[in-house]
């Protein structure tokens, strides 16, 4: 278990955060310089907060009010920095055994062997870090950190130093490590793919503060404000205005269209953002227009297309709009080909009400042209 509430000032930067987590993988997500790594170092004990509390498994490792500040040497945390910080003058085995000096020689050798095998490093034991690939270096760093049986594993951008092609395989590995060892992982990233794969609990940082925390689905599909919506690449963050609330429906005005959303306690005239992930917009085939109860149908022109490996992005514009595009739609390649969209000029799309996420809009500028 991890409990944090801390404040730390660095020149003009102010970190002020609080969260708690029980187990699994906790992802600190947000732009560079938002205080994520600083939080990690505070848990490791290599940075001392100005005030606050940090507890591991119910025991304080830092408690400003009671004058507690356990040294990093005694915290039993596994810290893996972004570049892995393997000791270049030591072999793989000596790196893994580095933190085991309190064990007897025999116990130490056993523990090193155990972790060498656990991470499949048998053939590399006598190699030096420079002779290893990025993925192998990461394994050694994880083995070194886990060998001391830490109470928490702290990972700073664990995949940033690796080829994109390697990352997904190593994310799976990390998941397995977590399941097998049961160690709680606190991980810093600004890569959305890490959040998708690993984020059992996601904490969104922005400029030294936490702006949202929750499950991965909450953060992805129900961002609390447009900052989070942008961080998680919502795709469509549409400025709209609340028209009125009817029994069971929140009616919105977006670009002169009336859209129905799930009811929320908004007053008429409230400026809002309408968030729809690009993968949630449905294309409605003309022959299926009346297949079931449809709502929020929009006729749009296709103004651009992009292909990314397995998916296609379509840029859509309302016929009476003068924007470059109004909507972004992502769909899998096989759907794209089955619908024969290569030469599509115009489409009908549906925004299902359960996929519309409505949030307050701070600025009061007019939403429609």
């Amino acid at each position: 278990m991890l409990e944090i509430a801390l404040q730390k000032r660095f020149d003009a930067f102010q970190l002020d955060i609080a969260f708690a987590a029980h187990d699994g993988i906790i992802v600190l997500f947000g732009p560079s310089g938002s205080g994520k790594s600083l939080t990690l170092q505070a848990v490791a004990g290599t940075v001392q907060p100005d005030s606050g509390y940090i507890g591991l498994d119910g025991q304080p490792v830092f408690d400003h009010r009671n004058g507690i500040n356990i040294a990093p040497q005694q915290r039993r945390v596994g810290y893996v920095p972004q570049n892995y910080a393997l000791f270049p003058h030591l072999t793989v085995m000596d790196n893994i055994g580095f933190g085991l000096t309190r064990l007897s020689r025999r116990e130490r050798e056993q523990r090193v062997t155990e972790f060498v095998e656990l991470f499949g490093l048998q053939d590399l034991g006598r190699h030096r870090p420079r002779q290893l690939s990025g993925g192998q270096q990461q394994r050694v760093a994880l083995a070194r950190a886990l060998a001391i049986r830490p109470r928490i594993l702290l990972l700073d951008e664990p995949f940033a130093a690796l080829d994109v092609s390697l990352r997904s395989a190593l994310r799976q590995e990390l998941m397995q490590v977590q399941t097998r060892s049961g160690v709680m992982i606190l991980m810093v990233t600004h890569d959305l793919a890490d959040v998708f794969t690993l984020g059992q609990q996601v904490i969104v940082y922005d400029n030294g503060r936490i702006i949202q925390q929750g499950s991965r689905d909450e953060v992805f599909f129900r961002p609390v404000n447009e900052r989070v919506a942008a961080f998680v690449q919502t795709g469509n963050i549409l400025p709209a205005v609340v028209d009125r609330i009817e029994s069971g429906t929140l009616w919105l005005d977006w670009q002169g269209r009336r859209l129905a959303a799930a009811p929320l306690p908004f007053e008429s005239g409230t400026p809002v953002y309408l968030c729809v992930r690009a993968s949630q917009i449905l294309i409605v085939r003309p022959d299926r227009l009346t297949a079931r109860q449809r709502e929020n149908l929009l006729d749009v022109d296709v103004v651009g297309q992009d292909m990314h490996a397995e998916t296609y992005t379509l840029y859509l514009r309302l016929p009476d709009s003068d924007a470059a595009h109004d909507l972004e739609l992502v769909l899998p390649g096989y759907v794209y080909h089955r619908l024969e969209l290569e030469n599509a000029k115009s489409l009908t799309v549906e925004l299902r009400r359960q996929d519309l996420h409505v949030i307050h809009r701070q600025d009061t500028a007019a939403s429609t042209s």
């Binding site: 170092q41 490791a44 004990g45 290599t46 040294a71 990093p72 040497q73 005694q74 915290r75 945390v77 596994g78 810290y79 893996v80 920095p81 972004q82 570049n83 910080a85 000791f87 270049p88 003058h89 580095f98 933190g99 000096t101 309190r102 030096r128 420079r130 002779q131 070194r144 950190a145 001391i148």
Partner: protein, 258 residues
């Protein structure tokens, strides 16, 4: 166009050294000159004092270099400038300054005198003079060496249970070792050649404070052959040390970090 100044400069640097050897080699009795007390005493004293001052510099200079490499605090600029001071100070002035500090009437000297300690005009004064002028060479090299060691390595060692001192000895020093060693050799060579501060602060007493450069100065008036042999030694010894350390570092690099 570039060739002429390059050749002129190269000649200007090499010819004087060559001249010493060209003058010595045809002479007979180099061996007897080498065995003269003036030469042997100076050689012995120079080796002892220069190695002692290297030890003193390493002992006190290493923490200073580490602080300069790792910490940022108010006043660090002052410390940084102080380290450069002996380099820009004329050695004679340094000698006078040391005398005003450690001499019998000096700032600390008069106090040391009351407890029966006299430093000026002793071998200890030679070591202090050499340390004063050679320390910056070691400190700057060590500082660069420590700066090249990633601070994350130290932080990881802390989380693995290593105290700052053990981390320093097991991680930082081994990784900065090439820089420490070459800085040490530079400082040692500078100490070996120290003249101005020594003669001001320690005097010119054979067997006690008369190091090789001082012996050369004396011998120039009476015994040119001895002066030449000592000069040749002062060229060969530091060069040999430098060469040896460079060769050692190249081999160590290949073995340790391949």
């Amino acid at each position: 166009m570039l060739l002429i100044p390059v050749l002129l400069m190269a000649g200007f640097l090499v010819l004087p050294l060559l001249a010493i050897f060209l003058r010595i080699l045809p002479q007979e009795g180099i061996w007897t000159t080498l065995q003269q007390p003036l030469v042997t005493e100076a050689l012995q004293l120079s080796l002892v004092t220069s190695l002692s001052s290297l030890g003193l510099t390493a002992l006190l200079g290493t923490p200073v270099a580490y602080v300069l490499a790792r910490y940022r605090f108010r006043g660090i600029g002052v410390l940084d400038t102080l380290v450069d001071m002996p380099t820009v100070l004329p050695p004679t002035v340094a000698g006078v300054a040391l005398l005003m500090t450690f001499g019998r009437q000096g700032l600390l000297g008069q106090w040391l005198d009351t407890i029966g300690l006299q430093i000026s005009f002793t071998t200890v004064a030679v070591v202090l003079a050499q340390s004063f002028v050679s320390a910056p060479f070691y400190i700057r090299a060590a500082q660069a060496g420590f700066q090249s060691v990633d601070g994350e390595l130290e932080r990881v060692a802390y989380t693995l249970g290593y105290s700052p001192l053990r981390t320093f000895l097991r991680v930082t020093v081994p990784l900065a070792f090439p820089a420490l060693l070459s800085g040490g050799v530079m400082a040692w060579a500078r100490a070996l050649g120290e003249f101005g501060a020594t003669i001001m602060f320690a005097g010119n007493l054979m067997g006690r404070t008369q190091t090789m450069p001082l012996a050369i100065y004396i011998a120039m008036e009476s015994d040119l052959a001895a002066a030449l042999v000592l000069s040749a030694l002062l060229i060969i010894v530091p060069f040999g040390g430098l060469f040896l350390v460079r060769a050692l570092l190249r081999r160590r690099n290949v073995v340790a970090y391949a």
